[in-house]
Symmetry: C3
Subunit: 313 residues, 3 copies
Amino acid sequence: MTDSPWTRKDLLGIADLSAEEIEHVLDTAESFREVSDRPIKKVPTLRGRTVVNLFFEASTRTRSSFEIAEKRLSADSINFAAKSSGLLKGESLVDTALNLQAMAPDLIVIRHGHPGVPHMLARRVEAGVINAGDGAHEHPTQALLDALTIRQHKKRFEGLKVSIVGDIEHSRVVRSNVLLLGKLGAEVTVAGPRTLMPVDMESYGVRVVHSIEEAVRGADVVMMLRVQLERGARMAFPSTREYFRLFGLTRERLKAAKRDVIIMHPGPMNRGVEIASDVAEGRYSVILEQVANGVAIRMAVLYLLSGVHQEIG
Amino acid sequence: MTDSPWTRKDLLGIADLSAEEIEHVLDTAESFREVSDRPIKKVPTLRGRTVVNLFFEASTRTRSSFEIAEKRLSADSINFAAKSSGLLKGESLVDTALNLQAMAPDLIVIRHGHPGVPHMLARRVEAGVINAGDGAHEHPTQALLDALTIRQHKKRFEGLKVSIVGDIEHSRVVRSNVLLLGKLGAEVTVAGPRTLMPVDMESYGVRVVHSIEEAVRGADVVMMLRVQLERGARMAFPSTREYFRLFGLTRERLKAAKRDVIIMHPGPMNRGVEIASDVAEGRYSVILEQVANGVAIRMAVLYLLSGVHQEIG
Amino acid sequence: MTDSPWTRKDLLGIADLSAEEIEHVLDTAESFREVSDRPIKKVPTLRGRTVVNLFFEASTRTRSSFEIAEKRLSADSINFAAKSSGLLKGESLVDTALNLQAMAPDLIVIRHGHPGVPHMLARRVEAGVINAGDGAHEHPTQALLDALTIRQHKKRFEGLKVSIVGDIEHSRVVRSNVLLLGKLGAEVTVAGPRTLMPVDMESYGVRVVHSIEEAVRGADVVMMLRVQLERGARMAFPSTREYFRLFGLTRERLKAAKRDVIIMHPGPMNRGVEIASDVAEGRYSVILEQVANGVAIRMAVLYLLSGVHQEIG
């Protein structure tokens, strides 16, 4: 990790990153993967560093992955949940940012419902800022952990056929994944009901189809998306049963994919809605590897950003 | 602690344990008791280990006891509260278990409203699982801390007269206590209003009576239970005043007990409902020793389970 | 820090402290300030000590400042939030105190809505107790961090003209500040609408005025208070616009102050209500220094109280 091409203070989105930077994060994460396999799952790398986890939206899954990553790096974590947060009530986001800065954290992990909030924060604080999801805009660590999982199985991205299927419109992860896979040379297909497909998807350089059969045919990777029932996806189709009939990933449908296809899902899954239970737990599924890789990617990102910070400060 | 008879991955209930295993947990806890009396209340035993506290029901008392035990052992604690938990929303408990497993925790402490959930979790994860209460089924660390407190005062269990008095039906702790005391040879009497007494209590090998006077007479240990007003116990008697008149432990009633009786209560107490305030703070009360022993028992259990895990992993 | 005049177990209020003790806390905090400027912001001072943060009212700002201070001192923090706290439900505050004591924490930081609760707690537990705000009564660490900020800029308190302006009635910080500044010899003026001014303010030995112009004139320090819209201050004036017109701190109004005036605010600010945005971020503002000093003061207080505890225990 000596000749790092990483010179950024923040990780705000995949849009900013070069293919080389992406590969460097993946390499770094690979070297952290084995820490979680040790009996003593801890390295002193970030000892004495303070990481603020600032979550304006509930997200136990992502927050806990970051928190475990922070603890495995020996950092001190401070958690702010939006609901209980007097810090955030009655003051502008700028004041929240300035206040956090005054307490001198080293890194801030932020989840917010509105696109661009992490970018605003990054401009106002010296601390490194990690975007843990800003609405449907970017969620870079999710795309990186997906990429790490793909690379472990496929060894390459160039020419790889990756199909992303489901509730494209409400997904927090599609945009970052499409950007990342495009930068690394994969051929991305996006599929979903018309009512859940943003009109401008073609502009991202992806193939857009409206049947899961077409998306799965010849695919190396099938990435299923959670139907965001809680964000209004419910209005877009007659019933979850109907959704499963039209867009659910079944063993039958999977037969059209490459023989060594891998199945991914960012979680939490709606079994029997976007994915059949036996497919979710089947031999092609790498869904739990994604979770494990999530901790490794977050360790890598925390490490890389704090390294830069260390040289500056 | 070298010749440990402890070979279990999980602590799910007292039902599983032999008398020898129970005594071994108590002995181990005894050796941890003095850590909490030191100026520096910390040992490096679980340094680098990750403990997930997964509470589907609010329980600050038990959770904080575990969390203090974890910190005194130098473990890293990750807290999940049910309410705020995106991890747990919209996915099956199995997926929650598998996801947790993928993050490679060493131990999981779980509290859940339904009997058997910790057992299901334990079958799905490699991590050691500690049942911190599954409905009214088992709450083994509570029974163990009660046993430690009794042993410190009475030195033996064989032939000891222990009476458990109050809201038997809604209690989280009765079943584990009855099982444990039976295994160690104590003579258990259970007393409470008929409306708060499960019909099958005799099948546990205990004496069932319906007056507190009868329960207290000649008792070595009187264990008072919290009237679970919030779980519907309110319907079972006319008023809390009436309950106190019939089943409240008073100084007067205590006179019929052995001269060196000890008074226990798992907390939180309803003073003036199941126990008079002067009895709760009086010379026979060991209620606060129970709290202190709770930390020691949890340290012992965390230590024993992680030891097994260490040898396997 | 060898010849400490600090012999107290608790920090309950400024009312108890001598000028010498106050200056000693400020000196100690000064020596901790630089820890937050290091790349490794951590000292082993409180390693192995347990600090319970017991917040009966939400207060992310104060809680996080304490939590960061605790982590920079290597203490173990246990957080109790009031809402989710089974520990606190259905039992008296006395039982909560006794239970906490039984878990043997070294220090307890308490925020409660009612005056005197920290004092009651301090009488019942061996642990050192820090009052983090008991209603509108005392909030000593806030007054101390304000004093540290003033001393850094003005080098003295004797004869210093300090004006406190705004919602005096609902403020959590006025009383401690008035007491502290009086003990150190400053001349305090208090200003605010009559509807937000307690009738007995003169009894504190302060000058009471009812125009911001009069308060600002010749002031060395202007301390603006948050209009506590959420605590009913809203009823006391026609509109926030009207409040700003009458009592908002503007650049124009600031011209009447000393040329080297400093502007303070305990946060969170209502920009455009009690303070103009350009004043809040302007050259006289020391508001963010207050936040940074907050961490240093809390480190100092935690250190001083634990030191006493160490000698006793």
